[in-house]
């Protein structure tokens, strides 16, 4: 294995949470999530040659991954049983058996009703980014990022309430 490849894989391993969280934000089905993870990994690897180290690897990774997620469209010919995948999640929940994980599960369900840009906004917010950082990542103004984020939070609240949950 070449040094660059190893270096890249080490960095990826360190920041793999970004891949996992974005994929779960954008898709409900495990298979779709895995496809998106593969796509993001591919795009990161391809763009890695241009990574000059002027910013943190994680900062650069957020951009490439979000740009990938925004322009990614899942395969149309997939015929997978949705119920089967919910079963998988249930198993995961049984193992964890945790109230907070339940809340996250409801959150991820509600997030599926948001559009791609709204998902990106909520993701960056939950990653602890400021309005300025969100605006820089998405290329919009800081005021616009704040307004959009507040609107998205309200929309998310409404969806969660509509689904019969409250937390």
């Amino acid at each position: 294995m070449k040094a660059t490849e190893k270096e890249f894989l080490d960095l990826m391993d360190k920041h793999k949470g970004i891949l996992y969280k974005i994929s779960r934000m954008y898709f409900e089905k495990t298979e779709d999530q895995e496809d998106l993870i593969q796509e993001m990994t591919f795009q990161l690897w391809r763009s890695y040659q241009n990574f000059k180290g002027n910013s943190l690897f994680s900062t650069w990774m957020y951009r490439v991954c979000l740009n990938t997620a925004l322009t990614y469209f899942k395969k149309e010919d997939k015929k997978q049983d949705k119920f089967e995948l919910h079963e998988n999640y249930d198993k995961e929940d049984d193992d964890q058996s945790h109230y907070k994980e339940e809340q996250l599960k409801y959150f991820y369900e509600a997030v599926q009703e948001l559009n791609k840009v709204e998902k990106a906004l909520i993701f960056l917010f939950l990653e602890g980014m400021s309005h300025r950082e969100i605006s820089e990542n998405l290329g919009i103004s800081e005021v616009n990022a704040r307004v959009k984020l507040n609107r998205t939070k309200d929309k998310l609240q409404t969806i969660i309430k509509k689904n019969g949950y409250e937390f």
Partner: protein
Amino acid sequence: MNFDELQKQWDKQPERPLDLTQNLHKMKSANLSIDKVRKTMKKDFFFQLTTLPLLLTYPYLFPIPQEKGPILWWIILCICTTIIIPMVYLFRFYKKSYKMEFSSLKNLNWFYYNYKFSIDLFKIYSYIILTLIVMFLGIVFLGNVDPEKLAYLQTSTAFYVTIIISLIIYIGICLCCINLWIRLLYKKHLKQLKEILDELES
């Protein structure tokens, strides 16, 4: 919903193990709009290129009157030049189409407007080529008609009406084909990108 509480849970959420040991060199892009466009562009580029040698063989395959030779070769040269200009532009766009490390809006804007421009350029050049082909076919047709018969035909109004109607039908069919070709190959992705851009800019 308490977002501060959610943010804490977000940071603590368990991660599914990810397999990153797969061969990076064998990975391929599958469902990215930009990649789909690039794949289509690549195929279309080679398809368009094949039309050039086909065009060049035409004067050898079909008999053309000697006196019409230079003008036909001139038209063929014009068609080839007209094809080459958008091809070079598309090739350069294809080579530069990855800007993933830009901000989302900049990345999408750059790709969307260059892509839209490429489609428009493709359309305009197709119309020009269409006109040149009409000229080409007209010269070949008139060159092969017996001069006496041609002189007789030129006195008939029906002859001109037939030519005009044939031209209208031919151009109509060609325009439909160009628009259908663009819609099938490129419009879907353009629409998808526009939707995301609108969401970002709204």
